[in-house]
Each structure stands twice: as C-alpha cells, then as structure tokens.
Symmetry: D2
Subunit: 396 residues, 4 copies
Amino acid sequence: MSAQNPVFIPGPTNIPEEIRKACDIPTLDHRSPAFARMFKPAVAGIRRVLGMQQGEVIILPSTGTGGWEAAITNSLSSGDRILTARFGMFSHRWIDMCQRHGLDVQVIEAPWGMGIPLAEMEAALRADTSHSIKAVLATHNETATGVKSDIAGLRRALDAAGHPALLFVDGVSSIGSMPFDMAGWGVDIAVAGSQKGFMLPAGLAILGVSPKALRAMDSATLPRTFFDFRDMLKAYAAGGYPYTPAVGLIAGLAKSIEMLEDEGLSHVYARHHRLAEATRRAVAAWGMSPCAATPDLYSDTVTAVVVPNGCDGTELVQLAATKYGVAFGVGLGEVAGKVFRIGHLGMLSDVMLLSGLATAEMCMADLGWKVQLGSGVAAAQDYLRKSANAALAEAA
Amino acid sequence: MSAQNPVFIPGPTNIPEEIRKACDIPTLDHRSPAFARMFKPAVAGIRRVLGMQQGEVIILPSTGTGGWEAAITNSLSSGDRILTARFGMFSHRWIDMCQRHGLDVQVIEAPWGMGIPLAEMEAALRADTSHSIKAVLATHNETATGVKSDIAGLRRALDAAGHPALLFVDGVSSIGSMPFDMAGWGVDIAVAGSQKGFMLPAGLAILGVSPKALRAMDSATLPRTFFDFRDMLKAYAAGGYPYTPAVGLIAGLAKSIEMLEDEGLSHVYARHHRLAEATRRAVAAWGMSPCAATPDLYSDTVTAVVVPNGCDGTELVQLAATKYGVAFGVGLGEVAGKVFRIGHLGMLSDVMLLSGLATAEMCMADLGWKVQLGSGVAAAQDYLRKSANAALAEAA
Amino acid sequence: MSAQNPVFIPGPTNIPEEIRKACDIPTLDHRSPAFARMFKPAVAGIRRVLGMQQGEVIILPSTGTGGWEAAITNSLSSGDRILTARFGMFSHRWIDMCQRHGLDVQVIEAPWGMGIPLAEMEAALRADTSHSIKAVLATHNETATGVKSDIAGLRRALDAAGHPALLFVDGVSSIGSMPFDMAGWGVDIAVAGSQKGFMLPAGLAILGVSPKALRAMDSATLPRTFFDFRDMLKAYAAGGYPYTPAVGLIAGLAKSIEMLEDEGLSHVYARHHRLAEATRRAVAAWGMSPCAATPDLYSDTVTAVVVPNGCDGTELVQLAATKYGVAFGVGLGEVAGKVFRIGHLGMLSDVMLLSGLATAEMCMADLGWKVQLGSGVAAAQDYLRKSANAALAEAA
Amino acid sequence: MSAQNPVFIPGPTNIPEEIRKACDIPTLDHRSPAFARMFKPAVAGIRRVLGMQQGEVIILPSTGTGGWEAAITNSLSSGDRILTARFGMFSHRWIDMCQRHGLDVQVIEAPWGMGIPLAEMEAALRADTSHSIKAVLATHNETATGVKSDIAGLRRALDAAGHPALLFVDGVSSIGSMPFDMAGWGVDIAVAGSQKGFMLPAGLAILGVSPKALRAMDSATLPRTFFDFRDMLKAYAAGGYPYTPAVGLIAGLAKSIEMLEDEGLSHVYARHHRLAEATRRAVAAWGMSPCAATPDLYSDTVTAVVVPNGCDGTELVQLAATKYGVAFGVGLGEVAGKVFRIGHLGMLSDVMLLSGLATAEMCMADLGWKVQLGSGVAAAQDYLRKSANAALAEAA
C-alpha cells in the first residue's frame, strides 16, 4: 500500500512538490547561458539566507560532510591548530575529519545535551597568546542532541580574547530554518546542505566564505581538487563550473529560495519555532523532556526526546518504521537508545506534525511505555490552534 | 508555504506517487499497439475488481456523471419506466438526470441517512405485474450521507418479485474500496469513476455491462454518440477507440489495478473498513454520530458526521481549509450544515487519517464546539494500533 | 530502449515539460477557492484565444467529440434542420452524430481535399427562405485531409443570404495553432479540445458559446445532463462545477494559455505556418503533393501527403512506428492508404520537425518508393534556416 | 516556446522518462531497510556493467572528478610516483589533480587525437626496474578528442614489463556505452559517473575497486574523509552510508541498470557503435573527419569533428544553441575552435541523432561553411535504415 506519510528525520526533509518539479528537468547544457540564468539567482539567494554582506558562495555537488572538508582543505594546512568543542555526534565527526586531515585539534569536551561551552572556548582562545589557533569550528545546531549553540556568543568570545582565528560554522541543520547571521556573527565559513532547510534532496554542499577565509585559500596546503575553491571561483567568473554540476539540484535551490522568500524568512523561522514548541509541549505531556539541557539550547529543527528509564528509543524508531511507515531519527553515539529524535524542519505543516506525534504515541503504547494516547497530540493541538491565529494574522 | 496534507474529501482521493507517475507520460499514439498493451490489462483488471464473469467493460473519457448517462442512454428509450429510491444527493441527481432524459421515474423516497428501502422496492416491483419497469437504479454508496445499501438484497427483491428489470448500480464511491460482486448480485450496469477507489484523477467513467444490458443496446433509442457503447465496442474490437482516449488515465488505471491487486482486494477492503471504524470511534469519542442510521448502513469510504445542535458543519469545513489547509466535505442538500464529511477512501494510511481527525478536533475547538482535544484521536489510535497487528499479520 | 522521439500525429500533440508538470498535481479540492483561482484565468485565456467578445466559455471533462455533442444538444431539438458539408472524416463524423441525434441534416458533398463549398452553402441558405435551417456546421480544419476552410467566407455567405442560422465551428485541430476570430466571424459555438494546439493530454472539450447560442439553450429539447450548459453555467457562477472536473487538466490549460501568450499568439501562428511550409517544401522535394487541392486550403497544423500510385501510406505509418518509433497519421475513410499525415502542431521546433521528415524519407526508401534520401530534409532545412532569422528577429 | 530537442553534448546525456521518474521520489529514510533494498541491486548491477569478479563497488555523492580524487587518495601517498599519458583535456585534468595532490607524475605526451601510446608506456614501465611507479592512470575514452584507448593493450604492456603497478582507468565517458572488462583487463580502479552511459543526472561517482587496490587503502596517506573508501565500506556492511547519500540518484541508478540489461549490454554497445558510425558517415559526407587519428581510435560515444580551415567549431556550437536550441560540445584546450563535438551516448535513437545532424548542417550553412544541406543526413539515413534491419532482427 502506498501512503504519503511525512518523514520526521532531521533531514533529508520532506520535499515540496514545487521543488521536486524544479529539480526534475530534462538535460540542460551546463555550459549554456540557460544554466547561468538559473545559477546566479541561486547564489544571490544563498547570500540573503546566510546573511552575507561580502565574500563568495560556493556550491559543490557533494553533501554537508563534503562541505566541512572543503572548509578545512581550502583554508588550512597540515599541522594547523584548530579549536573546537565536542558535544554530539556531528561535532565529533568534524573533529575526526580534522584529525584525519592532519590538523592539530584542541577539543573541549562538553556533555551531550549542552551547547558550545563559551567560557571554556574563550579561555582557550585567551590562553593562545601566540595565536597558533588558525580556526575555531562550531556546530550551530547539533543534530544528534537537538541543541542550538550561541554563535553570536562565540564571536563575542573571539573578540573578547582578541583572537584572529577564522570562525567556521556547521549550519547544515540550522540554515534556512533558524536565523543565521553570517555578517553579524563574523562567520568566515558557513556550511549548509541541500537536504535540510532548503528542502531539496541531498547532493549539494553550500558554503558562504568570507573575504578573510578567501585570503587563506592560497596559502592553505591541504590537497584538494574536487573541493578547490580556486577552480570553482575561476569557473564561476566565466559563468560556469570546473566540472559537471548537479544542474537539477541547482534549479531546485533557486526554487527553494524563492519559496523561502515568498513565505518570508522571518515567517519561516517563526513557523519552525512554532512547530518545535508544539513538539516540546507534546514531549512534556508525555512526561518526557528534550535532551537539550535548557530552553535556550532548544533547537527549532530537531528534538531529541529522552525516553524513560528502561525504554529504548531505537525500538520506537524501528516500530514506527515497520508498523506505521513513519521515519523518526534514532539516538546516535553516546545517546543511542536513550533518545529518539523528531525532525521538525523544512516543509512541515501543523497537520503533518500532528500525524508524527500521534504515531509516536501509538508506538509508545505498543512498546508498553507509560503514555496516555492523545495526550501529546492534545497539548500540541492546543498550542497550534491558538498560535495559528497569530501566525495567520501576521502572514496576512 | 507548501505542505503535503492529505485530502479527506470523499473523492477525488489522494493520488499515490506511483499512479501520478503512471498517468504523467509523454504523448503516445492511441492508434499504436503500445496503447493496446496498456488498455487490455486495464480492462481485464476492471473485470476482476467488479466481479464480472460475462459482459463488457466500457471506459469513457468522462466522469461518474457521464457514466450514469451512458448507462441509461445505452439501454433505455424516452418514456421508459424506471424504479429507484431517493435518500441522498447522489441518488437524487441520478433521478434528475433520468427525468431530464424523458424517462418515467418511479421514486421511492427514504429519509436521508437510510439506505435503499428494500421492502418498498420489492413491493413496487411486485405491483408492476406488466413489467413496465425497464430498469431499477440503485446507489450503492450514497456519498452525501455515508450510507451503504444492500445490493445483494435488492437483487433478492427483484428475484422474489420475479421481475426482469435491468439492475443499474452507481458504485462510484464504493467500487475498489468495498466489496462489489457484479456477477453474484446480478448487476446489469455498474458505474465507477477513476477518482475514488482507483485513486486516479477524475476523467474516466468506468462501466461494467452485463450481456442482458448489451442486448438492450440496439433497441434503446435515447440519442447518444459520445457515450454510445456500440461505437466503443466496435473500436475496442479493432484495438482502438472511436475518438481520442485519455491515454494517461488509462495508463494510470492499469497501475491502479496492479496496486490494488498487489495489496490484495480483500486487504484493500479490510483496510478501508479498519480506517472507517477508526473514524467512527473518533466520532463517538466526540459525542457525535454518523448520519447513517444503523451500523449495517455505515459506509467504509465516507462518514457524514452529524454535528451538534447549534453547530454548522460547513463552518468546520471552511475553517479546516483556510486555517489548516485540510479538505473535508460539506453537507449537501437536505443535510447541508447538519453534517461534515470525512472521506476515508483510496490511498490512506493510519498516519494520514489521524492527521485529519486531529485537524477536525482543532476546528471544533476553534469554533467553540464542545470537544476535548485529542479525544477522537485517542480513540482512533487505540483502535488502529491494536488492529494493526492483525492487519500486519494477515498481510505477512 | 527508451527514446524521446516526437510524435507527428495530428493530435494528441507533444506535451511540453511545463504542461506535464502543471497537470501532474496532488489532489486539490475542486470545491475550494484554490480551484477557482486556477479555473478563472483558464476561462479568461480561452476567451482571448478564441477571439470572443461576449458569451460564455464551457469546459467539459470530455473530448472534442463530446464538445460537438454538447454544441448540438444544447441548442437544437429533435427534427431540427441543419446545413453542413462533408469533405473528410471529421466533417463526416459530425454529420453522423447529428443524424443519430435525430436532426434533419442537409449535407453538401464536396471532394475530399476541398474545403467548405461556400457558393453551394450560400445557395442552400438562400433557398431556405423559410429559415428552417437552425444551424450551419463547419469544420474549420479537416484533420483527415489537411484542409483549412474559410469561416469568414462562410459568415459572409450567411450574411449575404440574410440567414439567421446559428454557426457552429469545429476548431478542434485549428484553435490555438491557426488564427481564430469567433467575434469577427460571428461564430456561435466554437469547439476545441485540449490535446491539439493547447498541447495538453486529451480530456477536455472547450467551447465558446455566443449570446445567441445561449438564448437557444432553454428551447433546445435534445436530452443532455452531463453536457448541459445550464448546469455548467449555474455552477460556474457559484465558483464551482456541477460534478468533478478534471482539475489537473484545467491547471494545465491555465499553463498552456500562459505559454501561448508568452510566445504571443501571432508568433504561435507564424511558427505553425513556418513549420507547415517547411513540411510542404519537403513534400514537394519528394515529388509528392498535399491532399489539400490548392494553397489557400493548406492547413498549418497537418499535411496529408498524397503518396505515389502503387504506394500505400498506411504501410509507411506502420513502418515508422515499428522500425523507428515515430508516429505519423494514417489516411482515414476515402483517403485510407492514399495519404499519410504529418501533424505539425502544438509544441514543435525546427529540430523536432526535421527528425520527422528524415524518418519519413527512410521509410520511403525502406518501402522501395522512389525517393532521394535527404532531399526533403534539405528543402526544409533551407527554408527553416533562412526563415529562422526573420522569426528570431521578430521575436526579439 | 518549449521544445523537446535532444542534447548532443558528451554528457550529461538525455535522461529517459523512466529514469527521471525513478530519481524523482519523495524523501526516503536512508537509514531504513527500504534504502538498502534499492542500493544493493544497484551495486550488484554495477559489478556486471564493469565486468567485475572481485572487489568492491563504491558509490559517492559526487561526480567523475570526485571519483578520480577518490581513486588516488584511497590508494596513494604524497610523493608516490605514477605514470600516465596526456592526449586531451580529461587526461590532462587528471594529471593536474595528481600534481596538486603531491604525486610525482611521469607524463608521456601524445598528440591530441591519438590514444594512450602503448609502446612508450611499456618502455617507461620496463625502465622502472625498481618498481617505483605505484599506479598507471589511463583515460579510456578521451572525451575532448573522441578517442578510445586500448586498455587491454595497456594491461598487456604492464604484464610484458612485469610491472606490479596499479591500473586506474577513467571510464567516465565509456562505461555503460562501450565494452568494459574490469576483470579481463586487470583494472584496479575504474571510475564512472552517473551522467553519461547511465543516463542519470550528474551527482554520482561510481567506482569499481579491485582487491589489490583495496589492499592499498590502509597504507595510503593522502588525506580524505568524504571520499574515504574505509568509511564507505564499513557503512555498506551495516546496510547504510557514512553520511547522507543521494537517494534519488541511487534509485535512478538501479533503474538505469535494469534498462541497460533489459536492452542487453551487448545491444547497448551495438547501438552506440551504430549511431557513432552513422555520425561518422555524416562527417565524411560533409568532407570533414574525426579528430581521432585512426579508425581503431574512434570513440563510440563522442565524435570530435575537425572543422575546415578558417572555420571555428565554437561558433557552430553557439549558433546551434541560440538559433536552434540544440547543444553540441565545443572544442577544449588545444583543439578549442578546431573541432566541435557531437555526443552520441546514452539514450539516443536514430531519429534523435538525425535531428542533431540536420541541425549541424543548418549551422554550417548559416556560417557560410561549404556544405550541401542534407548530405550528412542522407549518409546517416542510408546507413541507419540499412543497419536497423539487422539491429531489429538481432533484438527479436
């Protein structure tokens, strides 16, 4: 039996009809002016979504992971020192990549469920009086724990320490869904992917690169060709690509930006906040709590729900998939089994969200967890129906 | 903002991905063998879905209404007497059509919410000792009230009266979703449409025609060309169509039948029953009741929910559309305002259904109706999660 | 092996990407305002394409044949006299339909390859001093022979005879591809279909109806319900449809009109003329000639090519389909075997047309017809490349 | 105006309907069993297309260029010596990449239009008595010049020299269109891309890796994470991916392989050869010649046509795009302006090819080149129509 159940993984997200159609096009010569007509607005739109004022946008036929690799290989050299914090699976993976590329990574460990420890980061920066730290790496939204970190605060820490390090931000699961201010936050490289807030299939790494990061490009000696910003920028200047781009995804990206801006970025962010809040109300009604330690850390794109003692979040995810055809996210790494994750980003309506919450409840009951059917749904309904009026009024 | 909210109108129904793709094809010459390769399995499949053993299938580029017209114009002549019952908007419309075509319609009125009054029908047939009644018209599933009538019982009434009238059945909102037994029930013309249980867009009228009805074809003098079975059957025999068919819809119909049979027709019917029952549990939890007077009349494809005194079902439907982007059906004719309708046919999963029930609850609260948020959802969840096990087991 | 060979049948025509996507939509409630937002521009656009100034547009989920039936059943009564000419398969079929609906049809026979015989029509109208002729039926573009008739001339004939008959025009294979002037020509009902110049799949009959024809609606006694203009207009006024419309096709129609008007109707007509002329140059280079007797009769949407003595056009069509995967049209009725038909309407580019001409040549050689490979292609290339400059300049 | 003109660039190629639909799917959880059900047949099919008997398939969300980078970074270390030949733009680019990754590249220069110089390669291998050469890199089909090299011969050269170097082959524009025998030729890494013979959009690098190359994986110290075979193989073993895969493209790849194997790989190769030969006949009829120096070097996927003295191939490509909406390939690097390229790979029918040849002729005439319109088309028609019979017979 076919169904149109939404997915509730924290990416890839549900793809809107309009974007599916924009991506699904007959072959277009990527060396033709028609390609440039599609590519330029996409690049211009990315600048607006990232809040860029200067610098360049790079769009690679790759994924977020490739975006991370492009960020470091285009700015750093073997043995360079970087500073970062580990507080979830995605911050961990970036650290691992840096180590495999021969960087000297200074890691500040923080409990999973916490965000970037600003005070410790600042202390480490202040301690680095020789400015040997070349770059600070920050995961804006840790998808594994549903934790949003304070990038503006990190910039303040850098400034307070008077440290010139580059600031690289993984915004893969935040950009396009939560406010991002590349210029205001002084971000040097921001990394996004197509398959989260941009509502596209996976296949594009999207980077914003500051003038300062661009200046590091020529002295960086980590080897790269596929990811080399220099080839990319040279080809862009000639209206093209150094190799075959993912033409359909770029067409889809242009449409995505059109859709985000038609809705209004502030409305997009408000919608994500509202759906996240409804999810959290449901979680509370279930007698559970988010993995994120405090409300200021709550992510508006994904909620990692801590399951009761004796329960296994992974079982819920598996049951939802096999019995109800609904995809949630499992806990990863340290929180494997201890949480299940509800992605609430990208294309999502009240109605779609409620179907996910109702499914989670059925799974809990099926697994013998203590839950009152309809309880989380009711809490979410109450919040959604009341806040919808304001949302509709503002949209009008 | 885009969304993938399901529709809950009693047709057109949600279209599966697979069927959308099957319908969306480049132009194919309808005079080519490739068309015949697509058309023949569709026809063969229709025979199985209708439960035909003899006779012919006719597929017209039209709608259910056109199917009704084809049924009468190919078998009757001006002034012919027919017998039927009126107990909802769709049975009414067919009567109106017959009158406009100059037929002499003997109407048995029944309250809306009741089904075909078998005893009165039988009495009328018995009274017609001269056998002036040429045809009996029956609406299997009255979409306006969510009432399923007993066609097997009607056949027994005809047989008990020893009456030779043709039996025409409107199965537009039942066929493909509820058991239909054309041979067993002695149906002479069954009328279906593409946009209900077959999960296609509107655009096809699908008819099963018994040998007895085919024999009436040549003596029938009601004028018709577009709908003429004779042209259609002659062209079919030559592997073609008398005019341009809706090629994409026919490709989609072949896929629809493949999907229905892959699921298994008995499983399809069981799924519809299960989702209908879940809906009725929610309705009961809301303290409301179906328009259908007794459980034996409950339709498995649509539930017309009688709203409390002082409430207006149409307001709920309008609010659901404007505030939540969800489509329900309004009450029509005699029950306008008194009911709202939840279509639960075609492609529908537990998860999709729950999102509709949750939406209805929010609308009730928004309109100040007395309802406990989550109550209907919980009743449906409880039923769905328990019955799913059996459904999964049987499917395995 | 898959291919994207164009079709060269005179309808259904090649469907543009944009229109396929417009048609292929998730289920939309046809009773919602969203449907009305799609339907109204489609109707408004049809008025412009038909050149209407007054009257109403009717869009039926049917085909051109259904459109013909709607035209006569909404304006005429059994026994009414009509005047028309037979000069091809489609004019013949309309006559046959009228006879089956009990009309008294006065037929003027003309050789296939000729157009409407204006002088004889005028004589017949003048002879009808009692004005018993209620309607004159005209096939604007006879698809079987590739003949375009002079509707403006027919209007002049009516006026010269001072005859008040209604004028009905079958524009199924002309409207949207060749100039049509409903107001200027005094057409009372114009019939179009979705699958020709509008580049959509089959499934819509599109009619323009003059105020004079609308006034005939209530006195017309031919039975009809599915096709009844009165129900349709009443429902339109309420923003809806009397039954389920073909929502996707209507969405596609709105897109079709947008595309036609973006190109500019005059450019659309010029493009059709240019491609038709290129086809005729190829035909001449093959030493053959169009079935249309004189250049003023040449259709710009389809060329019926008279094949040499001893050759069978149907064999060419079959070989093109089986050997090369290309669809042409066979000769119908009186010209079966004597012609093959090249449709050159709807979405068609120079490049697409050349592939069809090249295919026809290969088939001729394969069948042992006397032809020089490349000869027709060269003649068409020469004309296309020279006329393209002017076309591009005008479009700029 | 819309059109469905094919493209004639040597990739991305025309995408079949079936593959477009396979790629265009709703979001599917890549951690679900449903993903594995799609991925495994794709991998198994790649093994058959590559002619693998042992080793592993790696599928990266990247492009052919990324595939090259993955090949070298997973098997080599900075300073490693490799041997290769430069005879076109793509062999050049791979050399450039190796140099940027710090490899010691021994380049044998050959004229553009020639293939891999086997004798000189063998001499270089024989001269390397210390076996310092770690890998030999070979471009199977040089897309810039339309030259196919002899990989079996290169293997013989390695064997004759008794040299243990790894053999890496760029088969981006050959695999899936021309015979490839990874096991028979002793290829250690074969690189393909999705957008050529597989008829998909760009976005996948596809690699076959021999056991010998896999053994080099752990000692290779070139840094890589995104492209790391170890992560990939570890994740595959667990039924997943180390990061988000391009799910739609993988679905499309499974369909591509199904289509290639339904046609039969030998028929696919024969079709490519036949279309290539038809192209070459046209080129000869134009009085021109392929860039490939001798018939044994002729590529069956792309023909680089040497234009007459005083003519500029790039002008032809630009005119074809702007005036006729048809994409050919320009000359690159040393042969810029001196050639234009006709891609004839992937989904392509006789009819599609003829439209490209006809377009090229019109452009030549437009540019004042000496050409007889229809001449190349006629030569191709003659060959195609005669060889089609054999092709059809064999397929039957």
